[in-house]
Symmetry: C2
DNA sequence: TATTGTTATACTCTATAACTATA
DNA sequence: TATAGTTATAGAGTATAACAATA
């Protein structure tokens, strides 16, 4: 996710064809929250990925690392549910992080099927830097908003991201 | 995108493990707008896709169809830029829609390289139904918000989705 | 019987480069 | 030279089913 996204964004916002003049902005599609959110996410994810690239992380692996840094190390099943990923994807991501010594799998004594994923010291250290990189990418994506507006947006998104099925 | 998403959402929000009790909600990750938006979009896209399935559309093809319904039929390049997709992807999507007689490629007389994508009568008819389906999916995803809050959210997202690079 | 993690596999999505025809 | 569309291909991401170990 390096080139094309950024490229199309560049093209899209080329000064010679300002967004505000684009007739497509009059489309019904632009009134759909789903579309706007998807576009914002795809731009934001591309930025975050490119900021994370020097650390050899992507948003996916970064997210797993972040959750592995919490006090109560989550099981792989919990990671899958929380990140809306299939369990087999978690296996691959955790494998990669574990091979780099960033997280470790800890057998659960009560349920020996389950394995808790916990960040190592080195994983926590990397997470600190990664977190900073992601915040930086986010700040650049949210440049158009005031701090208060960011708080509003966070509150609204949090509610729809964690609301039981309609 | 049929099973796993819905399934993990079901698991995630199973009454026996309410979201509000999940220790992962205390993670720093949950304070990131990027993460919240990505989660909301992935849930919302799954819903929209399943609502569109009976019409043999997905959010991608639906979006192209929607833009093809605008007064000034966009070129494939404009579609690619607007939807943050690579031109070759647009080709595939337009091919599929064209084969179903939903859109047509119209050569531009001024620039014979360019082709405008315009919805046919049948395409416009399908779009009406598809649009209703998507609105329904959206309403279900946004159930937790009031109408005013939806307007707020739309306004904020629109600004970050269409802001020149930071 | 059901669930956790795992493997293997297939499928979809996305990206890249090379080509053509126009400009 | 540069751009619009196209093709072919490769790579990443995602989904499915089946299995072993455990509950």
């Amino acid at each position: 996710m390096t080139g094309t996204f950024a490229d199309s964004i560049e093209n899209r916002f080329d000064p010679s064809t300002p967004a505000s003049a684009d007739p497509l902005l009059a489309s019904e599609l632009v009134t759909e929250i789903e579309f706007l959110a998807a576009r914002a996410v795809s731009i934001g994810t591309a930025r975050a990925n490119s900021m994370l690239a020097p650390l050899d992380l992507k948003v996916r692996s970064y997210s797993v690392l972040a959750l592995a840094c919490t006090a109560e190390a989550p099981s792989q099943r919990e990671l899958a549910d929380f990140l809306c990923l299939v369990p087999s994807q978690i296996v691959a991501i955790v494998d990669a992080l574990e091979q780099r010594g960033l997280v470790e799998r800890i057998g659960d004594r009560n349920d020996r099927r389950s394995k808790a994923i916990r960040a190592t010291a080195s994983g926590k250290k990397l997470y600190k830097n990664a977190s900073r990189a992601v915040r930086e990418a986010e700040a650049s994506s949210l440049e158009a908003l005031t701090v208060d507006e960011c708080d509003q947006l966070r509150g609204l998104l949090r509610r729809i991201a964690f609301t039981p099925a309609g």
